[in-house]
């Protein structure tokens, strides 16, 4: 199976290790991974800040770049939700504005074949034990769009539970938002920081070494808060844990 890696602009620029981990993991599982070089950004930040019309060209570009692949895999719950949940809505809005079906038709092909990484592993490849080894105590934070928009459910936890050497501990208040929220983190910095600090305190209370999530933008906020509050914890993307093996452990 030949799939496209939709890495997201944030991961491409700031978290290349996550991208390398997805490639390593999927290759190990027998998947042929391609990274279309023309990919940029799905338009989520534009759309969610109120700039839907600026997001439209980015969505069309996404569809151009990824349209011909069998499957599109992304290590981001919120960017996955942008494509799956909000691209159809953009098409509907354009139709309601009297602009016809063009946008909806352009975006339709990429919607059903876009998968968040853990969904792709569990639902498409049918694996929960990916042969990973990660000898650390980990607590898992389900990020909001993965949890509520995509309905990832217990997929990430099942994958983590199958990792050799990994001890998974419960995160109190796991379902509560970390406070990132894209431009919310800047526009409502006080509330965002308070939410982040509460999330970090809850994470610390578990005694885990690592807080794991399936979305680096949330981890950037949580990790930045952890670092500022001088906790000993590290934020790690789930792809890096699942890619780690006894022969090639994660850094």
């Amino acid at each position: 199976m030949r799939v496209a890696l939709f890495l997201t602009c944030v991961n491409d620029t700031l978290y290349p290790d996550t991208g390398r981990s997805v490639v390593k993991l999927l290759t190990r599982l027998g998947v042929e991974v391609d990274f279309p070089m023309a990919q940029t950004c799905c338009g989520q930040a534009h759309y969610n800040t109120g700039y839907r019309h600026e997001a439209e060209p980015l969505a069309r570009h996404f569809s151009d770049v990824f349209g011909e692949y069998e499957a599109i895999v992304t290590p981001s719950g919120s960017c996955g939700a942008m494509v799956r949940e909000l691209y159809p809505r953009m098409g509907e809005r354009a139709r309601a504005e009297g602009r016809g079906d063009t946008l909806a038709a352009t975006l339709a092909p990429v919607v059903p074949k876009t998968y968040e990484l853990t969904e792709f592993l569990v639902d498409v490849l049918g694996v929960t034990d990916v042969g990973a080894y990660y000898p650390h105590t980990v607590t898992y934070h389900p990020t909001c769009h993965g949890l509520r928009s995509l309905g990832l459910g217990d997929r990430p936890r099942r994958l983590l539970q199958a990792v050799k050497g990994l001890e998974l501990v419960e995160l109190p208040g796991a379902d509560e938002c970390c406070g990132f929220g894209g431009t919310f983190a800047l526009k409502n910095a006080d509330v965002s920081a308070a939410m982040g600090a509460d999330k970090v305190r809850n994470a610390e209370s578990t005694g885990a070494e690592v807080l794991c999530a399936a979305d680096n933008s949330c981890l950037m906020h949580i990790g930045g808060t952890m670092h500022r509050l001088k906790t000993g914890m590290r934020p790690v993307h789930i792809a890096e844990i699942l890619a780690s093996t006894e022969e090639g452990p994660a850094a």
Binding site: G19, A38, G50, R52, P57, E176, G181, S192, G196, R228
Partner: protein, 506 residues
Amino acid sequence: MSGTFVGMPVFPPPAHPAFPQAAHEAVNNPTLRGNLRHATHTIRAKRAKAVAEVSDWAELREAGKRIKDHTLLHLDRYLEQVEESVTAAGGIVHWAADADEANRIVAGLVKETGESEVVKVKSMATQEIGLNEALEAEGIRAYETDLAELIVQLGKDRPSHILVPAIHRNRGEIRDIFTREMSEWGRPAPEGLTDTPAELAEAARLHLREKFLRAKVGISGANFVVAETGTLVVVESEGNGRMCLTLPETLISVVGIEKIVPTWRDLEVFLQTLPRSSTAERMNPYTSTWTGTTDEDGPKTFHLVLLDNGRSDTLADEVGRQALRCIRCSACLNVCPVYERAGGHAYGSVYPGPIGAILSPQLRGTASEIDASLPYASSLCGACYEVCPVAIDIPEVLVHLRERVVQGGPVTREGNKVVLKPAKGHAAERAAMRAARWAFARPGALRTGQRLASRTRRFHPRTLPGPGGAWSDTRDLPPVPAEPFRDWWQRTQGQNGGNGDRGAAK
């Protein structure tokens, strides 16, 4: 935050600061944070348990949504049916286009009775229009009889929650307010009042009983109006509503036009979902229903004031209209992480929390600083949508209203179609969004930017000056990697069959 209001705030509030500024104080107030955290987490957990008991909750939620959507779609017809059925049952129906008109009507009706005081059962609609203040200006004193509303009124405070308006107060604060203020308004608090819930409730009971027995005029809202019979329904849990609705000679009910349900059969759905969503009760304790007037029983005169006040304008917007499905359960407030930290006052409206963030900017428009900032008072985490018993997709409406703020566009105000201009103060953001869109439409430009960031990474600070401080005041920046992923990919895998150049010509 302490207000200097007598009764409830005027709607809309005069020059309320934008949400981020208003929230700043609350976020840094440890007592308030503690009170809110304790209360919201308690109700949240109870609600989840009460909802989990119902095997057909998803179906009830869908039914509630459909009943409300159907009613709103045919609201003109159902409003006429309500007028006919209420009139036939001996009630008198009044129509109020806005807050001023509603206040004028109610003040006029009270004056006709010759009375100068009224008892009130908690009503969001009368708070929305600032009725208590309007009555005060006419020399009429309105007594709130709901326990929490009493606390707010005695404390010269403002409500901060739809269902538990004094959620920001703890028991000690309430004891102090009762001891200090009750004597000003009527029967004083008992000597040596402690902060045990039973003693506080008894003090309120004695204080209020005097008012119930004396009042000749009662004022209420309604949770529902059943169109087929013209029956009003008030759902409450203290029994004060039953007193206000049955003891006075004259009853005046101010009701938003979106409160209609077509039939009693429809009501059945909401009497299941509302108590569990709001107070986590399986069945509501006091459900009062009345149809016009009845000889020798209850009020002799009944007035229904049907209130628009921005609702028709909201109804005209096909995305935003779902906010009118709201049954005021406040489940969205109790689950909202932003409400939990910012508190209700920061929302500058009698409707706080997620529902307030989509309702206020629609009912009042987005012209004021507070209303233009409310759609952004959310991380879009979606917890509100998940718990909403009528499936209002609050994040969808928030984003829709953000669009209205930054891009402008067609809206309906006071029944007229107008085209809004983009709000001021978003110029820099708009330019940044355009620039980002330009770069993202050109992979080459994105790559140039990424490489520049990587090559200068040794010089990047961990904190930022100016507006960047919004991030770095509390959070360290992530280090920029030595190379972006795409450079690694091209260096290591691009030539091994990966179709690296697909679409790159753009």
